[in-house]
Subunit: 159 residues, 2 copies
Amino acid sequence: MNEHDPFIRLSHKLAESAAANGNHPFGALLVKDGAVLLTALNTVHTSHDVTAHAELNLVRQASGMYSADFLADCCLYTSTEPCAMCTGGIVWSGIGHIVYSCPAALLGEITGSGRFVVPCRDLLKYASRPLTVTGPILPDDAAALHRRYWPTYSHTGIL
Amino acid sequence: MNEHDPFIRLSHKLAESAAANGNHPFGALLVKDGAVLLTALNTVHTSHDVTAHAELNLVRQASGMYSADFLADCCLYTSTEPCAMCTGGIVWSGIGHIVYSCPAALLGEITGSGRFVVPCRDLLKYASRPLTVTGPILPDDAAALHRRYWPTYSHTGIL
């Protein structure tokens, strides 16, 4: 077990909560100095908003509560590697560290859609400020979660 | 004058409204068959939300009101080339066409930050669905707008 495992396991629990609420199984949390400051779920379906991914919901909360300087020392944990939209939001927020569980490419394989798989490290090459990325962490657990969920999900074409 | 000019000029007016409200000068609108369906302004400062770019505010509205199939025939006009976050949101929404005025690289030069300049066409290479991009349209007008605004703006480091 490494230092990230407990927080990644919590992101999996949040992803399960999102699915139980009728949304896609994605969860994220913000951590500083070992303490969980914020959590967020995917709410795309229930809020009728394609931008309501877990990570972007977290960034919205975080940027309303904390300065970019504060967020530079925070870590965003997410159950699945952030998409391009969410990675962009994370850059603008000032958050300094991303830790993810399921790789985006693996999610694409599992859902069978894979229509916009952007490795977040590739996108972050455009950012001029330092942003650390760690992952995948416990990807098998995250993949198992996705494999339980997606076959029963009626595809709308929107992740 | 081409077919896009009137809508791009409206995006400039919306950008000026955003600045008048105390936000960054960015505006966007959604058009279908020559009719304006929705407009949106940047509200990053007034809503204390770094994700509240004009284009993402527009996508949020649009995805709550229209299906992805309907949005495939819509065009998003924006006063400045969408950032990676907004381009990602546009992909998820299903919107079929982006028309922009000021290139992202030119905005980066004008603001002097240029800390996350991602040409939207580069990012859209990852998308498996077709999405048309047109621009820059009337970039000199948009650049003039930015040149009026940014020298008077007290930088927070957040665009």
